[in-house]
């Protein structure tokens, strides 16, 4: 397989047209924390297994027949597409139904949709990844790509925050990435339980622990709105150019391809123009209430 450091979006897999989901089987489930699970899925039909490609930061619409759909980030390695991971916080009717299906259950997939992280633009640059909670899920494919093509990038720093040590997602991988030192991993928690000796506090506090070379840094942010906001402001204050600060946004999604109108964010459709935006693309509305 050739390198996937590209920004050309692969065509979504779908049935008759873009509205019709394609069947995929849940082949394993990994428990990340008390309400977050990573589902490994494989398309039932070989043709979709062969054809499916995605870019880090893209998402799928997952479907449970008779229940509905949910937009879920793809969290696995973009260069291993025989199976696809979705890391899901079980909070709604669709995600609960996916959990109930369990291993061997069949879900529908439409996707991939959206614009991912700017891996092409990140080449030769330092990369700071800022993630909160399950916001690490859409980062994981990017981290895999950075690790696979490590020499093409400058320093890579991952700043991750979550509520407590037990709330970390991809815990064993965080440990492994920390250990092999090809990226700098800093984790902070709100509540230091269970013998935690690392940093305590909000994730943006970790900025004090890294060196940022503003002009040659690309920042990737994904977390709850307050983290997105504060992280973006802080990097702008450090004089990282606005077009080098990228944020992945969450909105109500229904179609995934710019047709249903739900995910509008000012002039943008989050599903097709995003979910990843550079700050300068959305500066007029970013952080404003109720846009």
């Amino acid at each position: 397989m050739t390198s996937l450091i590209t920004e050309t979006r692969p065509a979504p897999v779908c049935g008759l047209d873009t509205w019709v989901p394609v069947a995929a089987e849940i082949i394993s489930i990994n428990e990340e924390n008390f309400n977050t699970l990573t589902f490994k899925m494989r398309f039932v039909d070989e043709i979709h297994r062969d054809n499916y490609r995605f870019l880090p930061g893209q998402f799928n619409m997952l479907y449970v027949p008779g229940v509905g759909e949910a937009a879920i980030s793809i969290s696995s390695d973009p260069e291993e597409t025989d199976t696809i991971d979705h890391t899901i916080r079980v909070v709604g009717s669709v995600t609960r139904a996916i959990q109930r299906l369990g291993v061997g259950g069949v879900v529908g997939i439409r996707g991939p949709f959206g614009r991912g992280w700017p891996l092409e633009a990140m080449k030769g640059q330092d990369v700071v990844i800022v993630a909160g909670g399950i916001g690490l899920a859409p980062m994981r494919p990017a981290i895999y790509s950075l690790l696979r093509h490590r020499k093409e990038f400058g320093r890579v720093m991952l700043l991750y925050g979550c509520r407590s040590p037990d709330d970390r997602v991809f815990g064993s991988e965080l440990d492994q990435w920390t250990e092999d030192e090809s990226i700098q991993v800093l984790v902070t928690v709100d509540n230091a339980t269970g013998g935690w000796v690392g940093p305590v506090g909000v994730v943006t506090n970790l900025l004090q622990r890294i060196r940022v070379d503003a002009q040659k840094t690309v920042v990737l942010v994904c977390g709850p709105p307050i983290l997105n906001r504060v992280a973006a402001w802080q990097f702008l204050q450090l004089h990282v150019p606005a077009q080098q600060v990228y944020i992945s946004l969450e909105r109500n999604m229904n179609c995934g391809f710019g047709r249903c109108g739900h995910c509008q964010y000012g002039r943008k459709f989050v599903c097709t123009d995003g979910p990843v935006f550079s700050f300068d693309e959305i500066s007029g509305v970013f952080g404003r209430k109720e846009i």
């Binding site: 069947a23 008779g66 759909e69 204050q237 047709r259 249903c260 739900h262 459709f269 404003r288």
Partner: protein, 396 residues
């Protein structure tokens, strides 16, 4: 499609009786003919087989939150403007089953797919609604003129559109809520029609805008129009411009809406808005939809049905963190900015065609032209040109 300023050879006079011929010709060519009729006291598009069914002998009176049909002694077939209904639903149905399927082993088996649309001839499309069809063409990716679209074409819309025949009727009697001349869409249909008609006393000036349209004319008892008939038809349309009930100054409007995002008048609108979603349901360009799922308990067939949705509802922007636009202020602002501003960025055109329906059918008479005028005439100077201070003291 050809513009209106074409050779004289594409202009004819069709008598009032000739309209009946047109309808039977369309039926004979396999079209389902849809035209304005009176139903439940309002002008509505409906399938017809005879000219008698067309809503002649009525006129409409409109104002903010007001619609009435009154008797018209002239008994002309098109002497009214628009009701709440537009041709939108024939291409983008209010409710459409996209697919129904069941799980068999590890596979999805399709039980039903979206229905095939009928072959429609829509008669009596007002220029604003004709423009709205072309606005939706861009939204739904209908590829007629090689325009680059944001995504692949919608299957049902594309099929329905491709086989449809559009017969416009120019407006000579605008209503009190009309502002098509402000939006550049009327009262004359300039392009994008197969046939267009202008109503005179005893018949119509008929123009063809496509080969499909000319093929129909070939079968009609038409004659060459006299110069005075053409002059009269143009005069009537020109006079319609002068009698527009509403007006929007569109110059720099998109920037004004960006700039006045925190204007206090949004709060005033919100005090009146009931979030009933009427404005979006009657709008000929609104395209938002939601797909809902249902299960047949007897057969276990799961159905996916797309229906019209409104950005005025609470659930429209709902995420697990709550509704993004929980206040009515934000919902109205989003809708109006989209119609007149951000639509340009998304689809390269205005999202408003000036049909006035949102004013007429708003139960409390909220007026988009009035709100636009408030923003222009009384701009909030304190908003620093759309720039603002963030909570960390940055100006962005």
């Amino acid at each position: 499609m050809i513009g209106a300023e074409q050779g004289i050879k594409d202009v004819w006079f069709l008598s009032l009786q000739g309209l009946g011929h047109m309808i039977s010709t369309l039926c004979a060519k396999g079209y389902t003919v849809v035209a304005p009729v009176v139903r439940d006291g309002v002008i509505t598009f409906s399938e017809i087989v005879s000219v008698d069914e067309i809503a002649s002998g009525v006129r409409d009176e409109m104002g903010p939150g007001k619609y009435r049909l009154i008797d018209d002694p002239l008994s002309r077939p098109f002497n009214y403007v628009v009701g709440q209904d537009s041709p939108k639903r024939f291409f983008f149905p209010p409710k459409l089953e996209l697919v129904a399927m069941h799980v068999e082993g590890k596979r999805f088996v399709l039980d039903r797919t979206a229905p095939k649309p009928p072959k429609l001839a829509i008669l009596g499309i007002r220029p604003c609604d004709l423009a709205a069809i072309h606005v939706q063409d861009r939204v739904f990716g209908y590829n007629d003129e090689g325009v680059s679209h944001r995504c692949e074409a919608d299957t049902y819309y594309n099929q329905a559109r491709k086989q449809s025949l559009l017969i416009a009727v120019n407006c000579t009697q605008p209503s009190a809520t009309c502002f098509c001349d402000s939006m550049g869409t009327g009262p004359r249909a300039k392009e994008g029609f197969d046939l267009s008609m202008t109503e005179l006393g005893g018949g119509f000036i008929l123009r063809a805008g496509s080969d499909d349209g000319r093929a129909i004319v070939n079968e009609l008892p038409v004659r060459d129009p006299s110069p005075s008939e053409i002059e009269l038809s143009q005069l009537k349309i020109d006079q319609a411009c002068e009698r527009m009930g509403r007006h929007i100054d569109t110059d720099g409007l998109k920037e004004l809406l960006d700039d006045q995002i925190d204007h206090p008048s949004w709060d005033e609108v919100a005090k009146r808005c009931m979030a009933c979603s009427n404005c979006t349901m009657v709008c000929p360009t609104c395209f938002c939809s939601t797909v809902t799922d249902s299960n047949d308990l007897a057969t276990n067939v799961a159905s996916r049905t797309r229906h019209w949705e409104s950005c005025f509802t609470h659930q429209f922007s709902y995420t697990t963190a709550g509704s993004v636009r929980s206040s009515l202020r934000a919902r109205y602002r989003h809708w109006m900015r989209h119609k007149l501003g951000t639509w340009w960025d998304q689809f390269g055109s205005s999202g408003c065609v000036g049909c006035g329906r949102c004013i007429t059918w708003c139960p409390v008479g909220i007026d988009i032209t009035e709100q636009a005028a408030i923003l222009r005439d009384h701009p909030d100077a304190s908003n620093n040109g759309g720039k603002r201070q963030t909570e960390r003291g940055l100006t962005v």
